[in-house]
């Protein structure tokens, strides 16, 4: 576009007189657009269309990326080291954010009037746990700690400090407990286990790696000293600057302080025949023999 130099008039006046911008007036910058190369349109009728001569290359049958003709490929020869070493043997804890928990409670999928356990969370399809993929439970994440309002008796496997604070601030009770893989499978899917007629196994203690975590009051571990837990509650309240509501005055005190027995006893569950289609009545049988009771 040739600009005429004006001394009296302004650019805006010029622009006003110019025709409006249409597709006919627009053009890309020279060099911005390069013509696409169309395969099969080259010299000699395109011939092989840039695919080479015979073989897997031309016929599109090359093996997967990384394959070295049968030789152990580089990406398998080099062992995993450091950060990634033994990754498949490490316990994993799929996260449960406070935001998600609040969402589940708000929608009525999980009942805050009852203790909220991994079973309840799985029943309401709030989390997806795969014990066979080295999942050892669920971890409580502090995303949504600012909007969390529910008062719950919560039991998870790992919890971050801020999440613990958020739960306790609202007058709830949180515990971290350990389930070994077999117990975990039973916990998340109790019905298939009960139908199998097996004796309920003892919940094993955590190994020496995880024992310090669950014996620590700061993590609200189930093996920790209750007095220390109380002290930790106060300390955390001080740290984050809130006052702990007195749960002894709470109407739901009994629910909030309900705890599980540390070692699940050996029991057998059976289904009672009922008139209805859904047999609801279940009976726990205890072994009478002394040795079995001890064990």
């Amino acid at each position: 576009m040739s600009w005429t130099k004006t001394t009296t008039g302004k650019t805006i006046d010029i622009v006003k007189t110019l025709p409006r911008i249409t597709l006919a007036n627009l053009r890309p910058n020279p060099g911005a657009k390069k013509d696409e190369k169309h395969r099969g349109r080259g010299m000699h009728g395109g011939n092989r269309s840039g695919r080479g001569h015979k073989g897997e290359r031309q016929r599109g049958n090359r093996p997967r990326l990384g394959f070295e003709g049968g030789q152990t490929p580089f990406y398998l020869v080099i062992p995993k080291y450091g950060y990634n070493a033994n990754h498949s043997r490490r316990p994993q804890y799929p996260p449960l954010s406070l935001r998600r928990l609040q969402y589940l409670i708000d929608l009525g999928r999980v009942d805050p009037m009852q203790p909220i356990d991994l079973t309840q969370l799985v029943n309401c399809r709030g989390v997806a746990i795969q014990p066979l993929k080295q999942d050892y439970g669920v971890q409580l994440i502090d995303e949504g700690a600012d909007i969390f309002r529910a008062k719950v008796n919560l039991e998870v496997q790992v919890a971050s400090e801020k999440a613990i604070a958020a739960v306790e601030r609202n007058g709830g009770v949180i515990t971290t407990s350990y389930y070994d893989p077999r117990s975990l499978q039973i916990l998340i899917k109790p019905v298939p286990f009960l139908m199998s007629g097996e004796a309920i196994p003892k919940r094993l203690l955590p190994g020496e790696d995880l024992l310090p975590y669950y014996a620590d009051a700061c993590n609200r571990g189930y093996l920790a000293d209750p007095d220390k837990v109380q002290a930790a509650r106060l300390a955390l309240a001080k740290k984050y600057g809130y006052t702990i509501p007195d749960i002894t005055m709470d109407t739901l005190f009994e629910t909030l302080t309900r705890k599980k027995k540390k070692k699940k006893k050996k029991k057998k569950k059976k289904r009672e025949k009922h008139g209805l289609l859904n047999a609801k009545l279940k009976e726990f049988l205890d072994p009478m023999h002394q040795r079995l009771r001890i064990w």
């Binding site: 409670i105 708000d106 929608l107 009525g108 999928r109 009942d111 805050p112 009037m113 029943n123 309401c124 399809r125 309002r149 529910a150 008062k151 009960l194 139908m195 199998s196 007629g197 097996e198 004796a199 094993l204 203690l205 020496e208 024992l211 310090p212 014996a215 093996l223 739901l252 050996k266 057998k268 569950k269 059976k270 289904r271 009672e272 025949k273 009922h274 289609l277 859904n278 047999a279 009976e283 049988l285 072994p287 009478m288 023999h289 040795r291 079995l292 064990w295």
Partner: protein
């Protein structure tokens, strides 16, 4: 229909006792998931006939009996006492547990012991480091001194060499190579002269001392 559900009466109808005052009325009912239907004939369960030959073998196994009990309970006619481990099996299990799953006190002790060992190692290493660091100023000073002395010596050597060279230059009239035989001879000569001078000095000194000693002895004897 929705309106009729939204109410406390509806909540009671759906069968839970306590109501959460936090939740709005619309969500007073807890969502009831309809689980998968359990395809289990509880009214007329199939309990296989143990004596008959027609029943397949797998229906007479212990595992199947366990499952029967799990599904139908006492109606299956299975004695629940069988389903717990037998005496021998129980022994095995107890032994296994004793070996592989120590009680909590033992585990805590092991952890404490390991921690202590680590701490001890760390303390020892720190001690060694501290001791060495305490030695450091002296070592630095020694090293500096050593370097200084070496330099000094080097300088002196240089001066001596230059002097000898100058001497040789004077004597012979041209710049003599210090490695040649003549130079070495000259050096030897100079050494001899120096030695003689030193000896003379020593003798004179001794005489002086003797003389002074004699006079003092004479004075004292007087």
């Amino acid at each position: 229909m929705a309106a009729s559900l939204l109410g406390r009466r509806a909540a009671l109808f759906f069968g839970f006792t306590k109501l959460n005052s936090f939740l709005p009325a619309a969500v007073q009912q807890i969502a009831n998931y309809n689980p998968r239907p359990l395809w289990l004939n509880i009214k007329n369960p199939y309990i296989p006939n143990k004596e008959s030959e027609k029943t397949p073998e797998w229906q007479k196994t212990e595992k199947y009996e366990r499952k029967l009990f799990g599904r139908y309970g006492s109606a299956s006619g299975v004695d629940p006492a069988k389903l717990w481990p037998s005496h021998t099996r129980l022994e095995e299990l107890m032994a296994e547990e004793k070996e592989w799953h120590p009680p909590i006190e033992v585990m805590l002790k092991n952890i404490a012991a390991r921690q202590k060992e680590k701490e001890q190692k760390r303390m020892e290493r720190e001690k060694i480091i501290a001791a060495n660091m305490a030695k450091m100023p002296k070592m630095i000073a020694d090293w500096k001194k050593q370097k200084r002395e070496a330099k000094q010596k080097q300088r002196e050597e240089k001066i001596k060499r230059d002097k000898l060279l100058a001497e040789a230059r004077e004597r012979f009239g041209y710049a003599l190579d210090p490695r040649s035989a003549k130079f070495k001879e000259m050096v030897a000569e100079i050494e001899k002269e120096e030695k003689k001078k030193r000896k003379l000095l020593k003798r004179r000194k001794r005489e002086e001392e003797q003389g002074s000693a004699g006079t003092t002895a004479a004075e004292s004897s007087q």
